[in-house]
């Protein structure tokens, strides 16, 4: 099974569109159809990721189906998570022989509300959500835990944000937003949408000259009780990575879904990435973080590098939930290997 096409909406701080994503999704689908020479009737299965809390309206994913066109009826499903998990569902569908092609999409208009407050709805609803801690605060507690444990420094965090050739010193001179997090440690508000086409075997070869074959995919979860786990490590990422890499962690590129700078450090270590791997050539979630599509985009950017011939083996990671609660790891290869 392979990724044969990837498209994403422009990464913008605010769109004019509705929270049901139609305005951002229609151009993505049109781009994929024309790039692959297909129509919607060539797609056997559709799956999406989004959140009604982000949309501020019930069943926003049903309205998004307008962007597909559901006449005649289609096979469609939805996850209330990052669309990387929708891709996992499609992967299962294709692996089980129920479909030969799938189109997976995710969308979110983060600018419509107060994102860090809306994400509180992901927390334990009994003893945590009633206090309304926001997403920056939860990440700040995680970052502090790592600083105190000596696992990273504020300079290490700034270096992640600065990227290659960035000016770490000037970043460290900026004020705290949610001590110990500074603005550069926090992903920006991004409205966006993304879509990926999957196909199996010969169908993939027909649609794409150099498909990005998915040779492994696994996801794991850590306890939702934040105080009961070591926030400075990510055992679920390690377990998922071990399951799909078998310990071979040499990759040309790795796209890691880290909405906060310190989380990239946790993830790289949990996966066991080596110095030979270029991490987040796309810029990662710190450059653009379209909610419920950013994890899917990691798979898309990793696949795009293989389809374009600039990478042969790539890793894509996606996260969902607070403080890296749930993690999904995908391995993509230029050659179909089982």
């Amino acid at each position: 099974m392979a990724v044969v096409g990837f498209a994403h909406a422009p990464h913008v701080p605010e769109t004019f569109g509705t929270t049901n994503g139609v305005e951002m999704l229609v151009p993505c689908f049109q781009q994929l159809y024309s790039q692959l020479g297909i129509t919607k009737s060539d797609i056997d299965f559709w799956c999406s990721g989004s959140s009604d809390y982000l949309a501020g309206r019930a069943f926003s994913f049903i309205s998004a189906v307008d962007a597909i066109g559901a006449v005649p009826p289609i096979n469609e499903s939805h996850v209330e998570m990052d669309a990387a998990w929708a891709l996992y569902e499609a992967w299962v569908k294709l692996r089980s022989g129920q479909a030969k092609t799938a189109l997976v999409y995710g969308f979110g208009k983060s600018s419509a509300g107060t994102l860090r407050q809306i994400l509180t709805m992901q927390l334990d609803p009994y003893l945590v959500t009633p206090l309304w801690p926001d997403a920056w605060s939860i990440a700040g507690l995680q970052a502090r835990a790592g600083l105190d444990a000596g696992r990273w420094t504020e300079r290490d965090m700034a270096a992640v944000a600065a990227g290659e050739g960035g000016d770490v010193e000037s970043l460290l001179d900026t004020p705290y937003v949610a001590d110990p997090l500074r603005a550069h440690d926090i992903a920006p508000i991004t409205d966006g949408a993304a879509a990926i086409v999957l196909a199996v075997g010969d169908r993939a070869r027909e649609l794409c000259e150099r498909p990005a074959w998915i040779t492994g995919m696994a996801h794991r979860v850590d306890t939702p009780t934040l105080g009961a786990r070591d926030l400075t490590v990510s055992p679920s990422t390690s377990a998922a990575a071990q399951a799909v890499t078998g310990g071979n962690t040499s990759f040309d590129i790795a796209e890691l879904h880290a909405p906060f700078s310190h989380q990239q450090l946790i993830l790289a270590e949990a996966i066991g990435l080596t110095n030979g791997t270029k991490v987040n050539p796309s810029g990662g979630a710190l450059a653009a973080n379209p909610m419920f599509a950013a994890g899917l985009e990691r798979i898309g950017f990793a696949a795009e590098a293989i389809m374009a011939g600039s990478a042969n083996r790539a890793l894509a990671h996606a996260t969902s939930g607070p403080a890296l609660q749930q993690n999904l790891v995908t391995v993509l290869d230029s050659e179909a290997r089982r």
Partner: protein, 329 residues
């Protein structure tokens, strides 16, 4: 700051209508035996944890063991003093948070516990808190059996627990959590044209092209093929009742005295009907195929909404032939 290149992606935004949207509701949840026990003890200003399969004392107590997933049944008393294990600073508090002035969140390990509890710490500046700091619960003046029974933590060792409050009363089985989120709701370009049309007394539908079906109200994309419905079609304010129901049941917020008729009205030239009221005759006289016409409110009452049409009334024309609307039911 990062984000280079983003500005170049911004395209010209159509002038769409937008309005504030505030979503408010209460979540009422049953808490189960484990969290229920924790909350019942909180009401009595006592803190308990559960002993996990590895011997650790977990506070707050999870419903299932993090390692074996077995239900946890052994409860252990812990102190209302503890140690800050991690903290972060809130510069601009959000609605619903424990303070409306800057404060710290902390993960606090209570004495006798092996895991941490998330709560607020009342200190004036970030300099006044550090990892390893000793803190004590400040109990709420009145306890009800929720996490808010802990008003916050404050620096210091000394337990400020008042004389134990009465621990009688029924066990806590339910909590209610208010949710209050604010959004900027934006209409799509097609909806904006439609809503602006209504403000001028026009009924506007949308289609993809001359061969396409006419949607009223227009949708962002044609649901049969996903193409944008950018071609606007002005429709007359008369049409046909395709189907209807007689509302006999009173409900909260109802504005018309039952019985009355809610009907699907297929405007002439449209391909999908819209829901509206049919008044001006006995409810029992309304029928499929009945011809109706919009009754507009006085112009000075018009806004950006279909309620500018107060209702539809019968025109007295002969009923429409079933063949003319059977495909739109």
């Amino acid at each position: 700051m990062r984000g280079g290149g983003r500005a170049a992606d911004v395209h010209t935004a159509p002038d769409v209508l937008s309005a504030p949207l505030r979503m408010r509701f209460d979540y009422t949840r049953s808490v189960g035996p484990t969290i229920g026990n924790f909350l019942t003890n909180l009401r009595a200003r006592k803190l308990v944890g559960a002993r996990g399969s590895d011997g650790r004392v977990l506070v707050p107590p999870p419903e299932y063991d993090p390692i074996t997933a077995d239900p946890l049944t052994e409860f252990v008393d812990v102190a209302d003093t503890g140690t800050v294990e991690s903290w972060t600073w809130v510069r601009e508090p959000l609605p619903g948070q424990p303070f409306d002035r800057p404060f710290a969140w902390a993960l606090i390990r209570l004495d006798g516990a092996d895991t941490t509890l998330l709560h607020a710490v009342d200190v004036a500046t970030p300099d006044a808190i550090h990892t390893g700091m000793r803190v004590t619960v400040r109990w709420a003046a009145e306890t009800t059996g929720s996490i808010h029974d802990i008003a916050c933590f404050e620096p210091g060792e000394k337990s400020g627990a008042p004389a134990e409050s009465a621990s009688d009363g029924e066990p806590i089985t339910m909590i209610t959590t208010p949710v209050d989120l604010a959004y900027k709701h934006t209409a799509s370009p097609q909806e904006t044209v439609y809503l602006r049309g209504l403000a001028e007394g026009k009924l506007l539908g949308g289609r993809t092209d001359a061969a396409g079906k006419v949607y009223f109200p227009p949708r962002g994309a044609n649901p049969t093929d996903g193409r944008p419905t950018d071609e606007i079609v002005e429709l007359p304010d008369r049409g046909t009742v395709t189907t209807f129901c007689i509302v006999n049941v009173p409900f909260l917020g109802q504005r018309i005295k039952p019985p009355y008729v809610a009907a699907y009205v297929l405007l002439d030239g449209a391909d999908i009907p819209a829901l509206h009221l049919v008044l001006g005759c006995e409810a029992s006289e309304v029928r499929m195929g009945m011809r109706v016409q919009a009754v507009w409110k006085p112009r000075e009452e018009w806004g950006f909404g279909l309620e500018n049409v107060d209702h539809f009334r019968p025109t007295g024309e002969p009923d429409a032939d079933y063949e003319t609307y059977k495909h739109h039911l």
